[in-house]
Every structure is written in C-alpha cells, then in structure tokens.
C-alpha cells in the first residue's frame, strides 16, 4: 500500500527557492586549489595543460552540493510517510456494517473515523452505499443509498451497552442483497458473541469482495464481582495477552473509594482481590476497569451484592474456655467464609443485642435466650421492621416460652423428644424444603436426623411460612415477615445437641440462603424489602441505565418496564442499569457470568474476505534517511574535493573507508557492553566509598548545580566530620541501582518529565528499605504540602506532587524543634540553603505508638523523605577553584555556613538515623552505671 508523503514543517520547503541562487554561487566558486610555493615555477610557465584550466566548479560537484542542500532542507521539513488508509477498492455498491456493541466502545471514535473515511471515499467515487449497525435496535433499511445519507446515519450511531445481535441482521442480508453483489466493509467489534460465524457466512454470501476491520486494542472486561470473606474478588478478562490491569470502585456519589489491580495470565484472565472492611464494601455501587470506557468494563452493584454483617449473640456460653462447645460455633463456621461476623463483648444479652444493632448488623443470630427484656424486644422489633433479619435457634430456654413477639410462630410449651427411652417415635429426618421458601434450591439431606425440637402451635402456622419441615410434617424452620424484615426460627439448637443438622452441609447452605435473602437494614425507614415479600406482578422500572461507554445516565423517557428482571439479558429493551421496584434495586450488568467473551477471530468464523487493522499504522519518518543521505553526500563531496586537489591517494581513501566502517561497527556493537560495564563501575565505586547521590533531571544547569553542590558539601563533610565522601554520583532513577546510596538529592525541575509509576515504585522501595530522598523544590518555600487544593502552588511544587503521586508518602510535618535532624551534628534551628524562607518537611514523628506501622517507615527511624524549597545545592555549589557559584539570598556568609551545617546534619541523619536521639540518654546511662 502506497502511503502519502506529509511534511511536518512544510514552510521550510520555501528555502528550496534559494537553490538556484546557491547553484549560481557554487558554480562560480571553483574549489580552492592547493597552493605550493615552487621555485622552478618559471620552468612550468607556458607548459601546455592537458585539459584547459576550468574557472568553474565541475558540474557534477555542483550537483552533489545542490543535492546535499536540497536534502538538508527536505530533512528539516520533516517529511513523514503516512500509510494509505484506503480500505475499499471496487466501484460497485458498498456495504458498510459496523458493530456498535459495548465491545467496540473504547475505540468507537476510530471506528467511526474509519467508516467516515470509507464513506467519503465512496462519495467521491459515486458508489451507492448500504449501511448497517449491528446493535441498533431498529431494523433499518439495507437498501443502497448515497454516501452522504449513509454518513448522516453513521453520525447517529452510538455504541450500545449490549452485544450486537448479528444473527438478526444476518437473516435480513440475503433478502437485501444478491449473492456476490456488494463490496463489504465490516468494522468488527472485539467479541464474537456467539453469532459471529453466522454473520460471517451471511456476509460471505453477499460479498464480491470484503474486508473486516478489527481493532488491535485489547479489550478489558469485568465479570460480576464476588464478595468473599477475604475481600472483593473482581474477575477481569482481557483479550490478548497478560499484564496487569487496574480496577477502581465507586460509591453511590461516584467517589472513587477503592483501587486494586489484577495480574492477568497469558490468556488474559485474572482476578483483582481487594481487601476491604465490610462497611466500605457495602458502600460500593460500581466497579470499573480503570481506563476502559465500555459497558463491559463496569459492574453495577445492588443490594444483593452487599455483604451482610451477621451479629451473633448467645445467652449462655461456655465462657470461651471451650470454644467448640459454644452454642454458635457452628453458625460461626458456616457463615464465616461468606459473611462478616460481629460479636459483642457486652456482659448481658440485651446490651450485646443493642451493640450489634448499633453496628449495623443486618442479621442477628440469637440462641440460648428465652424472653428478652421489654426495651430490648422493642429495639429489636424496630430493627426488624427496618429490614433486619432475626435468626433464632431453639434451646431449652426457648422451650420454656410460648409467646414471644420475637418468634415467627407461637410455640407449644416444652420440647418434643424423639427416639428417647420414653418415646416410641423414631428420630425424624428432614422431609422437604417447600418451594415457596428460600431453601428450595437446597438438596434435602438424607442423613440429618432430629432428636428433639420445639413445636409450633398448628393454628399459628397459618400466619408463618414454613421453610423446612420434617418427614412427619412438623416444621423445622419457620419464618415470618415483620415490617421490612423477618424473623426466622430454627426449631432445633444451633449446636448438635438436638440434631445433627448443624454438622451437615445443608446447614451451611441454609444459613447462607437466609443471609443472602435477608435485606439490608434501611435506616431511613423506607426499606429494601426482601423480594419474596413483594407482589411479583409489579414491573421493574429502569432508574439509571448504562450507555455503551459504561457511563450511567437517565433512561429514555419511554423506557420499557421489565417484568422479569432476573432472567433478563442485556438488550435494547432491557439495557444494563439500575432497576427499581418499590424501592428494591436490581442491577442488570452488561457482562454476567454466562456472557461469552470470546474474541472475534475472522479466520475462526469462516470469514473469506481480507482483514485489516483499525489502528492507523504509525507514520514513518523519512527525514532521518534524508539526513543520512546528506551526510553521505557530504562525505562524497569531501572525497571529490580531495580528488580534485590531488590529495586523494588510494591508500588514504582505503584508510578512511575502513575507519568509517570500523567506527560504525564499533558504535553498533559496543552499546550494550558499555552499559553493563558502566553499571559495574558504578556499583564498584558506590560500594568502595560512601557517595552522595543526586538525581539527574536532564536540565544541564540543574544537574551541574547538583554536582557542584554535592561536591562542595562532600568537601565540607571531609573537612569537618569523620565522613569522607567520594565524588557525587549522578543517578538516573529509572535505570540505576539505588540501593548503594543512603541519601539521594532530588532537585525538582518543573519541566522534567514525570517519572513513570514503575520508576516511582523503585523509589518507593528505596525509601521503604531505609533510603532517604531529599527533595528540593528550589522555589524558596513556595510550596505547601497540605494545601492540596490551593491554586497558588509553584510549578516545582506541582511537579513534586506529580512525582509523589505514586509514592507512599508518610504524613509530613515541618522539622519540630526536638527532631533529631536539629541535633544530628550541629545544633540547628533552621535549615537554610540559597534561600532561607522555606521550611524543611520530614516524616511526622508522632508519639502515638499505634501509628508506628506507617507504610514508608521501614527504616531505622530515618525519615524516608525530606522536602525543602531552599535550593540547598546552590548554596553548597563551588566551582573548580573553590569559589561559590551562587550568592545566598540575602547575601549572608552566615547563611551559607548554616546551609552547609544543614547539609551535614541531613547527611549525618540519613547515615546514623536516630543515633543522636539515643545519645541524649548517655549521661543518664553513665550515671546509672556509676552507681
């Protein structure tokens, strides 16, 4: 494919107009001859020259030079070769079909641009164009029309929040087109969706020539997240290869409250596991793949998703001495993996219950209790009305109470013993889980036998639901709705005294079913009622719907109501989004666990046309080659001049050529070897002698100041202290090993490119391993570290924030008067540099012992980060003669001395840590030793 040539600086081509003038000058200026003083010149006079002395440059030399200049001008105009974007070649009718499901959303603009380019091309060629979008809900006309009309229709196409229904379109194709009649451009989505093969076959049938245009951009998708005990598990799928991918979570207001990342395997499958307290987890409303704008990269969360907090209260307990005999041990074990369990240390049952209600428990399991105090009963009732689920287990205490407001049914007094020595009834097995109850999906265990149970009054059962019953029909689990909440009663104990149900797997399933169907407690009172309690005929109404890009928005005014949301698939009628039915929210997501996410592979679905990439191939710069050609011509010109003046001998030419070849070869071969050697030398130097190090910013002036400054400080240190540092080491933080250095000076250059997150991760590791970085914004204290929202920060301070955005920065404070830094070598109260008005900030030394486990506090009490704005290096900088390079402001010799002392203290602090802080105890220790 032949591309088009484009100039990035086309106005430079105007210089080509000067070429004729240059030609004239060159033509009239012959090459300068060699001048030789030669005494017998007299003998040469009038000798017949073999060819006439030319007064002009030979034409071919002029040509070489003109070509050289022309090449230079062309190279400066920066020509680039843009690859041809023309996709269609024929002149018959054209059929443009674009996939506009959510899988095409991240690069939909590129797709539209490609379609537009093709349509414009067709318009110029006057070709009739048929246009279709696969995910459009309305079956539009497939009749060929003008390109302009197709372009208008294209402009209205948006990515849809569901996968395209290609099969429906495929059916219409054969009616709309004759076989082999059109040229097809299929701008394909990223996913197959299961109907790719059908569609490809339909297109093959009608296409005389076809091309499928596919994006090479990997598409990241999110499966429904799982709410596990150890955190939120977000399964991520990405087409293409592995790598890491970032996941973010948002709350109801759209605030980002969670971030994590998943490492994908070679198939592009991975799980982001994010540890999170239950309270914050419940605030999550939306999870999204960072940087991926498609509905498939978003998971909306509703009430079903929220992790319930289950409070456990036992009236009488074994006091913790025998944990396996605790009444709620089995409940604890059963719910532990899936729920957050709350317990209370309160001495009495009523206090414990109140505490759990306060702590937002949505389910409270209660056992070994009979009648509760009236105020507790009232509080619990209010809580149940607000949506709480009270889970009670039978016990001897309960068997003594018959009427209780907190029981689903009225009980008969006493319990029923089965299979005992005085009973002729056999122990009963579980008979059935009625279909109306939440246990319907659970297999009835055959090995569970109940030896003892409490019995409900038969007439009371009319007002309650029976979720499980024994073979003889007596209820095992009963429940009753109260307000928005409900009360569930197990007619056996929570431990294996009365039955072996707690030992069975069914017990776990039953408890989980209760927890899952339990509603959240709605404090405002409106309530998120359990679905079972609602009238099933009320339709679901969309509240907010996703668009194809994964953004939530208001639904269409005429949005359809949905009767059966649970079995709905994302489609035009039921777009993904939040649906509401009487306050109960349901989130329909674009990607469910069952959604097929296989990528669309043209070769695998029988596509017979060509394939092309959506990504425009990168521009190929030509100008480097022009420069190379110009350099070659320059060399040729030099040789020609040498030849003309007779100084070119064969030996000289051979030597030159071999030298050039050798130089090129050497440069090519030695690059890698040099780098390794440099690393080794650097490591050797850094380990042989303590070095101060500075970060190379790329700004020559700043780097030179850093070098001169650290040189000055090194000399000062050698003069005044026991430390004799080596020459300062320049460091490229992205490449060089940092582990050798204790203190790195990092001047901030506002024009510096912000280091990559990988680089800053290295810096973070360095800091956590005990290294100290001295950031110098050099802006005389214009920065304010806490003042994040103020617009008054200097460019240096803003750059520092950008740099530190990826670093775990501990809390900072200006150096307090009792900080070790003020006593590490000299006694200092301030830390001036070239300027004197900036504070020096260090990691906050709080006396709070609990805060000791700060992330960046891995070292021996040395602040991993020191920030100043005083331009320390400029104050330290000396030239080769030992003269100051910069004046201090104000110009005060004492300030410069103080600047050096500050430097000494910082170096001593970074090398010795809190040694000086311990030193203050020496007199006391000596005194104690003397006794």
């Amino acid at each position: 494919m032949i591309g088009s040539l484009t100039f990035l600086s086309p106005w430079l081509l105007l210089a080509l107009a000067a070429l004729p003038l240059i030609w004239l000058i060159l033509r009239l200026t012959p090459p300068r001859p060699r001048q030789i003083a030669f005494p017998p010149t007299r003998l040469l006079i009038d000798l017949e020259d073999k060819d006439r002395t030319p007064s002009r440059t030979p034409w071919w030399l002029t040509l070489i030079r003109l070509a050289l200049i022309a090449l230079l001008i062309l190279a400066l105009a920066e020509p680039v070769l843009r690859p041809d974007t023309k996709l269609t070649t024929g002149d018959g009718p054209l059929f443009v079909v674009i996939d506009n499901g959510w899988d095409s959303a991240p690069d939909f603009a590129e797709r539209v641009a490609a379609a537009e380019a093709t349509l414009a091309e067709a318009g110029r060629a006057g070709r009739p164009v048929a246009f279709a979008a696969t995910a459009e809900p309305i079956a539009e006309s497939l009749a060929p029309e003008t390109a302009a009309a197709a372009e208008r229709r294209l402009a209205a196409i948006e990515p849809r929040p569901y996968l395209p229904d290609r099969a429906a379109l495929a059916e219409r194709l054969s009616d709309a087109f004759d076989a082999d009649s059109v040229e097809v451009l299929w701008i394909g989505g990223a996913l197959d969706g299961g109907d790719g093969a059908v569609f490809a076959n339909a297109l093959n049938a009608i296409a005389a020539d076809g091309v499928v245009l596919q994006s090479e951009r990997p598409l990241a998708m999110m499966r429904p997240a799982e709410n596990r005990a150890d955190g939120v598990h977000v399964p991520i799928v990405r087409t293409g290869s592995g790598g890491t991918i970032d996941v973010a979570g948002f709350d109801q207001e759209g605030r980002r409250i969670l971030a994590g990342s998943a490492t994908l395997d070679a198939d592009g499958v991975g799980v982001a596991a994010i540890e999170l307290p239950a309270e914050i987890r419940n605030a999550l409303a939306r999870l999204a793949v960072a940087g991926e704008s498609s509905a498939g990269a978003v998971q909306l969360l509703d009430g079903r998703w929220q992790r319930r907090a289950v409070g456990l209260v036992a009236g009488e307990s074994a006091g913790g001495s025998q944990p396996l005999l605790e009444p709620l041990t089995y409940v604890q074990r059963a719910l532990g993996p899936t729920s957050d369990l709350l317990t209370s240390d309160a001495p009495s049952v009523s206090e414990a219950v109140m505490a759990l209600v306060e702590r937002d428990a949505s389910i409270i399991a209660l056992t070994e209790t009979g009648t509760l105090p009236p105020d507790t009963t009232e509080a619990l009732s209010a809580w149940i009305d607000a949506g709480g689920t009270l889970l009670r287990f039978a016990s001897p205490n309960l068997a003594a109470t018959t009427v209780d407001a907190l029981l689903p049914v009225r009980l008969r007094q006493g319990e029923r013993a089965l299979g005992g020595s005085l009973s002729w009834e056999e122990p009963q097995a579980i008979g059935d889980f009625p279909d109306s109850g939440p246990f319907a999906a659970i297999d009835v265990p055959a090995d569970v036998v109940v030896n003892r149970q409490v019995l409900a009054e038969p007439e009371a059962l009319r007002s309650a639901e029976v979720w499980a019953e024994l073979r003889d029909g007596t209820p095992l689990v009963t429940a009753a709705a109260r307000g928005s909440g409900r009360i569930v009663l197990f007619h056996v104990t929570a431990d294996p005294r009365w039955s072996n149900l707690p030992l069975s797997g069914a017990f776990v399933d039953m408890l989980n079913a209760i927890v899952e169907t339990g509603g959240a407690v709605e404090r405002r009172g409106s309530g998120d009622a359990p679905a079972e309690a609602q009238d099933a005929t009320t339709p679901w109404q969309p509240v907010e719907v996703l668009d194809g890009y994964g953004d939530l928005g208001a639904p269409d005014p005429d949005a359809a109501l949905v009767a059966d949301i649970r079995n709905a698939q994302p489609s035009a009628e039921t777009p993904p989004g939040i649906y509401d039915r009487d306050g109960g929210l349901f989130a329909l997501n674009a990607v469910s666990d069952a959604t097929p996410l296989e990528p669309l592979v043209p070769s695998a679905i029988g596509w017979q046309g060509r394939t092309a990439s959506l990504e425009p191939r990168p521009d190929t710069p030509i100008w480097p080659w022009l420069l190379v050609a110009a350099a070659l011509l320059a060399a040729l010109d030099g040789l020609a001049v040498l030849a003309l003046s007779g100084r070119l001998t064969r030996r000289f030419a051979t030597a030159t050529a071999s030298f050039a070849v050798a130089a090129v070869g050497f440069a090519a071969l030695s690059n890698g070897a040099f780098a390794q050697e440099r690393d080794m030398e650097r490591a050797l130097e850094a380990t042989n002698v303590t070095q101060l190090a500075y970060v190379v910013t790329g700004n020559a002036a700043i780097d030179e100041t850093s070098r001169a400054g650290l040189t000055g400080l090194s000399i000062y240190l050698a003069d005044r202290t026991a430390l004799e540092p080596g020459d300062p080491a320049p460091i490229d933080v992205a490449r060089d090993e940092l582990v050798f250095y204790a203190l790195i000076y990092w001047p901030i250059d506002p024009d510096q490119e912000t280091p990559s997150p990988e680089t800053m991760a290295r810096v973070d590791t360095f800091m956590k391993n005990g290294g100290t970085i001295l950031f110098d914004t050099r802006d005389a204290g214009g920065f304010t570290i806490f003042d994040r929202n103020s617009g008054g920060a200097t460019p240096e301070a803003q750059k520092l924030r950008e740099i530190l955005a990826f670093v775990d920065v501990p809390p900072l404070e200006p150096v307090p008067p009792d900080h070790v830094l003020t006593k590490a070598f000299y006694l200092l109260s301030e830390f001036p540099g070239r300027w004197a008005n900036s504070e020096m900030w260090v990691e906050s030394i709080s006396d709070e012992p609990l805060l000791r486990d700060r992330p960046a506090r891995g070292g021996d009490g040395v602040s991993p980060i020191i920030i100043t704005g005083n331009d320390l290096a400029a104050a330290w900088a000396i030239d080769d003669n030992g003269l100051w390079l910069y004046p201090t402001v104000p110009s005060d010799p004492r300030q410069r001395e103080m600047a050096f002392r500050s430097g000494v203290n910082v170096v001593m602090y970074s090398l010795t840590g809190n040694y000086k802080a311990d030193q203050v105890h020496v007199p006391a220790l000596l005194e104690r030793l003397g006794q």
């Binding site: 030789i36 030669f38 005494p39 017998p40 003998l43 040469l44 006079i45 002395t53 007779g646 070119l648």
Partner: protein
Amino acid sequence: MAMRPLSVDARNRVETARELAARLPDLLVAAKRIAANVLLGVHGRRHPGPGETFWQFRPYVPGEPARQIDWRRSARDDRHLFVREREWEASQTVWLWVDLSTSMDFRSRQASTSKLDRAVVLMLALAEMLGRGGERVGMPGLAVPKIGRDAADRLAAVLAQSAMIGEWPEVDRIGRFTELVVLSDFLSDAETIRGRLRQLAGRGANVHLMQVFDPAEEAFPYEGRVEFRDPETDMIWLTERAGGLRGDYHERLAAHRESVETYARQAGFSFAVHHTDRPASEGLLFLQGWLSGVVAGTVHTGHVADAEPTAA
C-alpha cells in the same frame, strides 16, 4: 631573474636574510661538525721557500745569512756548510659564494632541510675547513680573503650582518688563479647565467659551481589541481592536473641544466648537483675534492629522485 619586480624580490630577500640570521648559529655548529670530519691537506708548491716542512739541504753559498746554516748537518760533513731549505707553502685565495635569493628558501617534504640552509652549511663548512688549512677565505664584495682559523665565524658574521646579499657575486676583486666556489640553485634564466659565467671566465678564476637542488624540484611529485607560486616573483601558475606536467617539466629541467653545464664546461668550470636529501658531508667531500684538484669536471651528487608520485 631580471624580469622580476624588485620590490617583491627585495622584500623576500630581506625576509630570507633575517630568518637566516636567526638560524646561523645552528648552521655554524652543523658546518663545524661536518668540517671536522674532512681534512684539507696543506698543498706544497714543490719549491723551496718559506714553509714548515723540510724540503732539502743545499750547500751554503757565501753571502747568505749565517743563521740559515744548519749546523747539525754541517757538522757531519768536513768540507761544506749546509743550509736547510723548507718547501714553499703558499696559501691560496678561495672565494666562497652562496645564493641567498628567495628561491633557495624552499624545502619539500622529501628533504630534511631547505636548499638555503644546506648551501649555507656547505659554505661555512668549507670555510672552516679552508681556514684550518691555512687558506685565505673570503666572500666577494663582503669579506676580504684572510688567513685564519676563524674563517667560518667570520663568514657567518658577514652573512648575519648583510641584509641584502646578491644572487651573484661581484667579480671585480676576483683575480687570476684564485678559486671561486658558487652554491646556488641556478634557476635563473639560462642566458643570464651564461652571461655571468662568461664574465667570470674573463677574470681567469678557477670556478666551481654547485647546484643545490631539492628532491621535489627534481621529481615534481605533484598531482591534481595545484597553484604553483614562484617565491621570488609571486608569479602564479595554476594547473588542473599537475601530474600531467611531470614529463614536460623533467624535459625542461634537464634542458636548463644541460645548458648551464655546457656553459660551465666551455668556460672550464666544474659543475655539480647536490640534493638536499643527501648528507651535507657528501657535498663537502666533493667540494674538497675539487679544491684539492682530485676531482674535476661536472659531477652529480646524490640520487636522481624517481618520478613516482608520492604524497607531498
């Protein structure tokens, strides 16, 4: 070179002389070192006369001063008294001349020294040698012939003090039977040289011409586009292909030399060529040979440089 503009020549020659004066001490040392290796024998006249070397005893003739009698010899003879006679040792007058024109101040890469330096060294060495040999050494028009071992120093002083030294010696003071040694490149017009030689021949002097030549002048190793400049006249000759001129140049050079040699032979002068890439002692030996009467005629010293082009 009669046709050159005087001003240019004068300027160039003053310059040359000044530079030469600065180099003279070195050249003098070099000349003495060379001369130390070459001994000029005192040439006897084969006649009794004033001298140091014994020649013969002869019988005393009455009337002669009595102190001339050799008493020791006379004592062995009882009849005669004898007189000791010595061989007559006369010192010769040797005129030396070196061409200090600008064209002599040329050195190519093939040579280690310039023609001028070589000519001066040869002259001073010759003067040193002759001075030690008891000859009267002088420069025509600049230094009168004197006996003395300091001849080289004397001539060097003369050279250093004289700003303008002509290309050709003044021949007025040169008498019969004197020797004249001329060191030059003889690049002037052939007819001019012929006139000068004829003039010298009229003086009856015994003339030795030594052409001091640079190997590059002999071989013409130049190629390509070259602008040749005559250092005396600043005359410029531009050629596109110097290599193509080599054959013609060789022919012209040979013809020029042939004519100079022919004139010299006709006048009875000896003529030799000395190349600056050869040792100076070689030239000195030839000069000594001439002055001792061992060698006569025209001789080329040094090799004739090949015509192969080499990097200049």
